[in-house]
């Protein structure tokens, strides 16, 4: 585990593409938190994240409070995004050599 990206905002497709180009590299891990979890409902965005990273996570608590857990399950790629707890998030951050928050 080398590099973890914490994405806490829901970006427009183009903005995300620009930021990804700036920060994201192939095989980095991505964890969507806060409003970032809303991007999990956007099929083309999920696909572009999965194209770059095999490890895409969503913070479960932030999905549940926004009421989107069931909706995520209905997405074609929803199952490939792993829902994780706060504890696992801490573990991921601690195990990563680098954490990039954007």
């Amino acid at each position: 585990m080398s590099r973890l990206h914490l994405i806490s905002d829901s970006f427009e497709t183009q903005t995300l593409a620009q930021k990804s180009e700036r920060y994201l590299e192939k095989n980095d891990s991505v964890l969507l938190i806060a409003d970032g979890v809303l991007m999990g409902l956007q099929q083309h965005i999920v696909q572009s994240l999965l194209d770059t990273s095999d490890n895409c996570y969503l913070l479960d608590q932030d999905c549940r409070c926004r009421g989107i857990s069931l909706l995520l399950g209905k997405q074609p790629n929803g199952g490939r995004l792993k829902l994780i707890s706060y504890e696992t998030m801490v573990d991921l951050c601690a195990r990563s050599e680098q954490v990039i928050a954007w």
Binding site: A34, L38, Q61, C65, R66, G67, L70, L71, Q75
Partner: protein, 121 residues
């Protein structure tokens, strides 16, 4: 175009991460208390304020969907959501509170154009 005395309050920020949405709803209630006509309009991530299955306990916060459902008692009769924003997030009308009316972006544009004042959050 003829304008009326309505105030349009547009909420574009999602719930929980920021307090803008709550402030928008508070302003709507204040306006209603002074007998102003209010359009409360949810666009972009703002539409997530209206999702029925929210569970604020997950992060030890509170939702204000009860407050939104009670708006009719304050004579705020129109809650609008932007249908294009719903499509962006694969949301359906049934995912939202029953009192919400869907409007296209053009219709929301018209609502704002016809309002004396428009405030965005």
């Amino acid at each position: 175009m003829k304008t009326n005395t309505t105030i349009s309050i547009v909420i574009s920020q999602g719930p929980f991460a920021r307090i803008c949405g709550k402030e928008g709803v508070d302003l709507a209630l204040v306006c209603a208390a002074f007998e102003q006509k209010v359009n409360l309009i949810f666009v972009d991530e703002g539409v997530f304020h209206l999702v029925k299955t929210q569970d604020a306990n997950a992060i030890d916060d509170k939702t204000h969907d009860k407050q939104l459902q009670a708006l009719a008692f304050y004579e705020i009769e129109h809650l609008y959501a932007d249908s294009q924003s719903l499509r962006r997030y694969s949301l359906e009308h049934g995912d939202l509170l029953d009192t919400v009316e869907l409007q296209s972006s053009d219709e929301i544009h018209q609502l704002c154009r016809q309002s004396k004042q428009t405030v965005t959050f």
